[in-house]
């Protein structure tokens, strides 16, 4: 599962291949869409959730509200079914899906005129940690590199060589996870949110206003 980007994406993987998957791009309805998508994917595979032996969740970086939907869902599934949950960097899923075999970068939309980004040596190998920056501030460092993800398309001036895919897919994330599990289970993150930004510490006027009209 991954809800760190505008895509609400779910896939079921049997260790060798993706059995079923669902991806919907709707930045404002992660909460509504995720569980029905899980249900659809399992039904398509003719299975129920208790057949699942492990969970993989994209931990971001991503805008906070949507990101939390996937993380808390994975944590709740894990607790209810007593199966492990593995975290993967959301950008790693996009990198894996790109299949690019030379140095490149991944950039997703971080809103506020910024992108979440990371560099890769190839589709399986991230170089360093993910970060959040203004496109113009990193354009020079990434000059000449292909850039995968919606962040690249949003800022063509900074990232002229935009590549597919634009959106995250859980199928790719599951594929990457299956490879790592088969190789001994290294390379996972704790299933905790990667926010990369401090919260806005602003108390809105009329905070907590839940008064019925």
């Amino acid at each position: 599962m991954d809800t760190a980007t505008p895509a609400v994406t779910v896939a079921l993987h049997d260790g060798e291949a993706v059995v079923a998957s669902s991806s919907q791009v709707d930045a404002r309805r992660h909460g509504e869409l995720l569980l029905p998508a899980v249900d659809r994917v399992l039904k398509e595979a003719g299975l129920t959730l208790d057949a699942v032996t492990g969970l993989v969740v994209g931990v971001g970086p991503g805008p906070y509200t949507g990101l939390r939907v996937g993380l808390v869902t994975a944590a709740a599934f894990s607790s209810a079914l007593a199966v492990p949950v593995h975290g993967l960097c959301t950008l790693d899923g996009l990198a894996y899906a790109s299949g690019i075999d030379e140095p490149f970068a991944v950039a997703t939309d971080a809103r506020r005129k910024e992108v979440y980004w990371a560099r890769y040596d190839d589709s399986r190998t991230r170089v360093g940690d993910a970060a959040v920056d203004r496109p113009a501030d990193i354009a020079e460092r990434l000059a000449g590199l292909p850039v995968v993800g919606a962040g690249a398309r949003l800022y063509p001036d900074a990232f002229p060589d935009a590549r597919d895919p634009g959106h995250q897919s859980a199928a790719a994330l599951a594929g990457l996870a299956a490879e790592r599990l088969a190789a001994g289970g290294e390379g996972f993150l704790d299933p905790l949110p990667m926010y990369l930004r401090r919260p806005d510490a602003q108390v809105p006027k009329n905070y907590k206003v839940v008064t019925p009209k």
């Binding site: 404002r28 309805r29 909460g31 509504e32 805008p63 509200t65 939390r68 994975a74 209810a80 839940v210």
Partner: protein, 370 residues
């Protein structure tokens, strides 16, 4: 499963408390709470993003703690209830997502319920089944309303509400002006006990004969108190903090109890329930007791721990939903930051629930990407 005593887990994340309660009918088995209030204190109010982050961290551990305290397995549950609204959108979403995931993983019915109706229903855990109808006065940092409920699972009618600030907000604001910290309720209550409630005649909002009978207004009071304090300071005089606290508090609880008792009399209701965080205020309790007794009204106020936001109240309402065979919510259930009080729960689409307000609009008001 005993149809009349359902075993239900309730999740509440509408503001800064991550609450998980488990009830068996009207018996409370567990009430686990993790609060982020201390983190908000230095900002003088609840910061939504900080609350949401804290909910995510605390959610599953709090559920596991509640199950352990109750000594039950999640498999034994008859249903899972969650606050669907009203509240902070991002905060609600954490609880709703967790509830949906548990319900789906365990194959249990899901009930998205109304936070305000839950505040009323929690009293069943303390004083047994609610009389029908019940008059409820809900007062907290987020709500100040008078509600009349003939059936807490299906019929809640708003009689009046604050037209500006919630009562609890006024406590926070005055505490800030007096440099007493956040939240303001408990400290003002404590200081007021040593002060004279009649020392300063602060205004009683919306109490004129032509004002709406059941609506509240605390904004004018807030300003009047702040001005009074500033005038003292400007004159170089000491501010009599205890007298200010007592007089301010008296102005708030005087209006609240007067209007609540009047609503009971007008509607011929002989029970008054008081809930919400401000219901923990000792003077509100005392004055309500005094006035209800004089009017022949039975007062029901849950213990303070059940008045503030908690998961037990959500479980209590969920249990009532199961007992009364109300239709469950579906997997599309969304957090609704402005869920109307007239919707005690959010039944699934297959049950012909007509949304009386535009969800897309409500959702788009809130920037989901802060």
């Amino acid at each position: 499963m005993a149809a009349d005593e359902p075993l239900v887990l309730g999740i509440e994340t509408s503001c800064d408390e991550t609450g998980v309660g488990i009830v068996h009918g009207t018996t409370l088995l567990a009430d686990a709470v993790a609060s982020s209030v201390d983190t908000h204190a230095r900002f003088g109010g609840v910061v939504p993003e900080i609350a949401s982050r804290a909910h995510l961290e605390a959610m599953v551990p709090t559920i596991e703690r509640a199950l352990k305290t109750a000594g039950i397995s999640a498999k034994d549950l008859d249903g899972i209830a969650v606050t669907a609204g009203p509240g902070l959108a991002g905060a609600l979403l954490v609880g709703v997502s967790a509830a949906k995931a548990y319900a789906y993983a365990l194959g249990k019915p899901l009930y998205g319920v109304n936070h305000l109706a839950s505040h009323i229903c929690v009293d069943q855990l303390e004083h047994g089944k609610l009389p029908e109808p019940t008059m409820a006065l809900l007062v907290s940092g987020g709500h100040s309303s008078l509600l009349l409920s003939a059936d807490i699972t299906s019929d809640v009618r708003p009689l009046g509400a604050t037209i500006d600030d919630a009562a609890g907000e006024a406590f926070d604001k005055i505490a800030r002006v007096l440099d007493l910290g956040f939240p303001g309720g408990p400290v003002i209550d404590r200081l007021a006990r040593e002060g004279d409630p009649a020392a300063i005649a602060f205004p009683r909002g919306l109490s004129g004969s032509r004002d709406p009978a059941y609506d509240f207004s605390f904004s004018g009071l807030k300003t009047a108190v702040a001005r009074w304090i500033e005038a003292k300071r400007a004159a170089g005089e000491d501010v009599p903090v205890r007298d200010v606290a007592a007089s301010f508090q008296e102005a708030v609880v005087d209006v609240l109890t007067r209007k609540a008792v009047r609503a009971c009399k007008d509607e011929g209701v002989d029970h008054l329930m008081i809930g919400g965080g401000v219901a923990a205020n000792s003077r509100l309790r005392a004055l309500a007791e005094e006035r209800c007794e004089r009017a022949g009204i039975r007062l029901r106020v849950p213990r303070p721990g059940l008045c503030t936001d908690n998961g037990a109240m959500v479980a209590a309402l969920g249990s009532e939903m199961v007992a009364r065979n109300r239709p469950a919510s579906d997997l599309e259930l969304s957090a609704d930051s402005s869920l109307p009080v007239t919707d005690p729960h959010v039944p699934g689409a297959s049950h012909g629930h007509a949304h009386d307000h535009d969800h897309v609009h409500e959702v788009s008001k809130e920037n989901l990407y802060p």
